[in-house]
């Protein structure tokens, strides 16, 4: 029985409860009050389903700008922007040939803010691809893939693949000339194992290429079936896959001990930021313990406090919010100055000339202009396999957590960059000037062209260079540094050539203004 004894008391209590309801709503939602003390800053993190993927305290090394450059958070931020704008585009987009193009035109020209949302979607996707690649480079150059983070490096490679998949599947949806011919090329790259099976003469009985293309297009040509499949991949299957992978990726960061840091990080940080940060403990502890069986670590933390850590609220979260806002600012600024392209309605009889894929695939397209199978499937598969193997081949410890750490260091990376750029530019220059095998020997068997072409030659040069690095520095890490740098350089050179120097009929032009009129 309520202690309110009179009807008047009961009514007063009702009114007081009503007045207190907003405050109590906040109290029950956040439970622990404002994050002003060590204790409430901790509960702020682990009492919140969205924040508790973070640890309660963050090491100062992780907060240094040079540790991560915010690239991981930038990737997530770009993904979130693409997610929100993508859902908004779905209000108007209709995945059916020709109708799709009309709905894109509506979004671009009629729907209020439609053009901005579409531009944001396109730019955030581009920023995401750049951020993911740079994030991978950061993890590689700081040797963050090493024990115990090997598995998370693999998850990261999965995220890179799904990110590229999301971008590629989005490319078809406008159903314009650009989209149609990029997907025709993409689907035929999926079919390119036929280049080998045809040459060997077993396509009749074993045709993985044809199967892949059929699976992707749902038909023997790019049509309504292909569009709905790409739409399904783009808005459902791949986003779910990337969300699952991101969950594992973030969770593993914590379980693997947070951001990578050098063994002597605490000494390096001595004397920095002591005034700016909230105190570690209000009273210095005599001892701290950890559950050694549950929390992974080489030694128990007995006898010393977790120095150089600060509460994640506010230090880490404000930094993350800062990166999110910066990403949003970049995407918005780019969306204001540059519209997403929309060409003529897809025409299956007249290819776009030149038909170019999104920029990050133009390096691949440069390679497939010699051999569809090797450039589109063979070499990318070798590169992905090589990336996946790095943490299992490099079992060293020198230089972990330091930029360009390990034998060779920055001088080796600098030399490898020059070597990688020079060899790819020279090879491309030779091919552009003198042509390739079929121009010299018209009847050359296809298998030889598949095996010997600029893509495979460049891969071989880089692999040999990497072996030289291993021998020169007696270190697998040095070989990895050389190889990774070379591949970044090769990717850059091929992408730039594919983007700026290839014109109609995929011929070399110094500038688009030299393109013939057609």
């Amino acid at each position: 029985m309520n202690p309110a004894t009179t009807p008047r008391d009961a009514l007063r209590e009702f009114l007081e409860n009503l007045k207190a309801a907003p405050r109590r709503l906040l109290d029950t939602a956040f439970r622990t009050g404002p994050p002003t003390t060590d204790r409430t800053r901790s509960t702020f993190v682990f009492g919140n389903v969205f924040l508790h993927l973070h640890s309660v305290r963050t090491h100062l090394w992780s907060l240094k700008w040079s540790t991560t450059m915010g690239l991981g958070i930038m990737s997530v931020s770009a993904f979130l922007i693409a997610l929100v704008t993508g859902v908004m585009l779905m209000f108007y987009y209709k995945p059916y040939p020709d109708v799709a193009y009309e709905s894109m035109k509506d979004i671009h020209f009629v729907v209020p803010t439609g053009r901005l949302i579409r531009n944001l979607h396109r730019w955030s996707a581009n920023i995401m691809v750049i951020a993911v690649i740079l994030h991978m480079a950061r993890a590689f150059y700081t040797a963050a893939y090493r024990r115990p983070r090997e598995y998370n490096w693999l998850i990261g490679i999965g995220l890179l693949v799904v990110t590229l998949g999301l971008s590629f599947t989005g490319y078809l949806l406008p159903w314009d000339q650009l989209a149609y011919w990029a997907i025709t090329i993409g689907a035929n790259i999926a079919q390119s194992p036929r280049e080998v099976t045809d040459a060997v003469g077993i396509t009749e009985v074993f045709d993985p290429g044809g199967f892949q293309r059929l699976l992707l297009l749902g038909s023997d040509q790019v049509g309504a079936e292909a569009l709905i499949r790409f739409y399904l991949l783009h808005v459902m299957i791949l986003p779910l896959a990337i969300a699952a992978l991101m969950g594992v990726h973030f969770w593993r960061i914590r379980k693997d001990g947070g951001m990578v840091r050098p063994a002597d990080a605490d000494e390096l940080l001595k004397g920095t930021r002591e005034q700016e940060t909230y105190p570690v403990f209000t009273e210095a502890p005599v001892k701290t313990y950890q559950l050694a069986a549950v929390v992974k670590g080489r030694t128990a933390n007995v006898g010393r406090g977790p120095e150089n850590t600060v509460p994640s609220m506010p230090h880490l979260f404000y930094a993350e919010l800062g990166v999110l806002m910066l990403t949003l600012l970049i995407c918005l600024a780019l969306s204001m100055v540059s519209d997403a392209p929309l060409k003529e309605l897809a025409n299956p009889n007249v290819p776009e000339n030149p038909a170019k894929a999104p920029w990050y695939f133009l390096g691949l397209q440069e390679m497939v202009s010699f051999s569809a199978f090797m450039g589109g499937i063979g070499v990318p598969a070798i590169v992905l396999l090589g990336l996946a193997l790095i943490p299992y081949l490099d079992r060293e410890t020198e230089g972990t957590g330091k930029w360009f750490g390990g034998p060779g260091g920055w001088p080796l990376v600098r030399f490898s960059a020059v070597f990688g750029l020079a060899s790819s530019i020279l090879l491309e220059a030779f091919v552009i000037r003198f042509g390739w095998l079929r121009e010299w020997i018209p009847n050359i068997p296809q298998l030889i062209v598949t095996l010997v072409n600029p893509a495979t030659i460049l891969t071989t040069i880089y692999a040999l260079y990497s072996i030289w690095c291993i021998r020169r520095f007696q270190s697998v890490r040095a070989g990895a540094l050389g190889l990774f740098t070379c591949f970044l350089a090769g990717f850059l050179v091929l992408t730039i050539i594919g983007t700026y120097f290839r014109g109609p009929n995929w011929e070399f032009f110094w500038s688009p203004s030299d393109w013939p009129q057609h």
């Binding site: 011919w181 025709t184 090329i185 689907a187 035929n188 790259i189 390119s192 036929r194 280049e195 045809d198 040459a199 199967f211 059929l214 699976l215 749902g218 038909s219 023997d220 040509q221 049509g223 309504a224 079936e225 499949r229 299956p348 009889n349 007249v350 290819p351 776009e352 000339n353 030149p354 038909a355 397209q365 497939v368 202009s369 010699f370 051999s371 569809a372 042509g435 079929r438 121009e439 018209p442 296809q446 062209v449 598949t450 109609p504 009929n505 995929w506 011929e507």
Partner: protein, 161 residues
């Protein structure tokens, strides 16, 4: 006959297959197998038994003005039809490299996507195309030419009216 006495099992040694776990384990494996085979069965769904594509056969009349050896492209089709003294033949204009539509030029065909070049009979002269352009099945009756884009014939097969 000797009997081999097994030493009594220690309390800490696990049983080889714990008897009471056997049913549990086998039902777990059954469940796993059911899910696995069910999923494999459903994976057949994305591969349609009948492809949703328009008919590959079409019939056209060649223009009177078509010169001998000149390529005629029926509107909306990726096929080049030729007429010469030996008869009529059709060459697919879908590039064997990555599926772009090739354009006739004075020497044969050129592909706009990656620069493959073909002779008029479909043979590759340069570029990345791994195969020659296929010749398509043609039949001629009453001045009309029927072409089947889905059926290829050996290069050099020409059909007299």
């Amino acid at each position: 006959m000797t009997t081999k006495s097994t030493p009594p099992r220690s309390r800490l040694d696990p049983e080889a297959v714990p008897r009471r776990d056997w049913l549990g384990l086998s039902s777990l494996w059954t469940m796993g197998a059911a899910l696995l085979f069910g999923t494999i069965g459903m994976l057949k769904l994305p591969k349609a038994a009948v492809l949703a594509s328009p008919s590959k056969k079409f019939r056209i009349a060649l223009p009177e003005t078509l010169a001998l050896g000149e390529a005629f492209i029926p509107p909306g089709r990726a096929v080049a039809v030729f007429r010469d003294a030996e008869g009529v033949h059709a060459v697919s204009t879908i590039c064997t490299h990555l599926g772009c539509v090739v354009k006739p030029n004075p020497d044969g065909f050129e592909c706009p996507c990656h620069g493959s070049r073909f002779k008029a009979d479909g043979e590759v002269t340069r570029g990345p195309a791994p195969q020659p352009l296929p010749w398509l099945k043609v039949s001629v009756s009453g001045g009309l030419v029927t072409i089947d884009e889905g059926a290829t014939v050996p290069a050099g097969t020409k059909v007299q009216a």
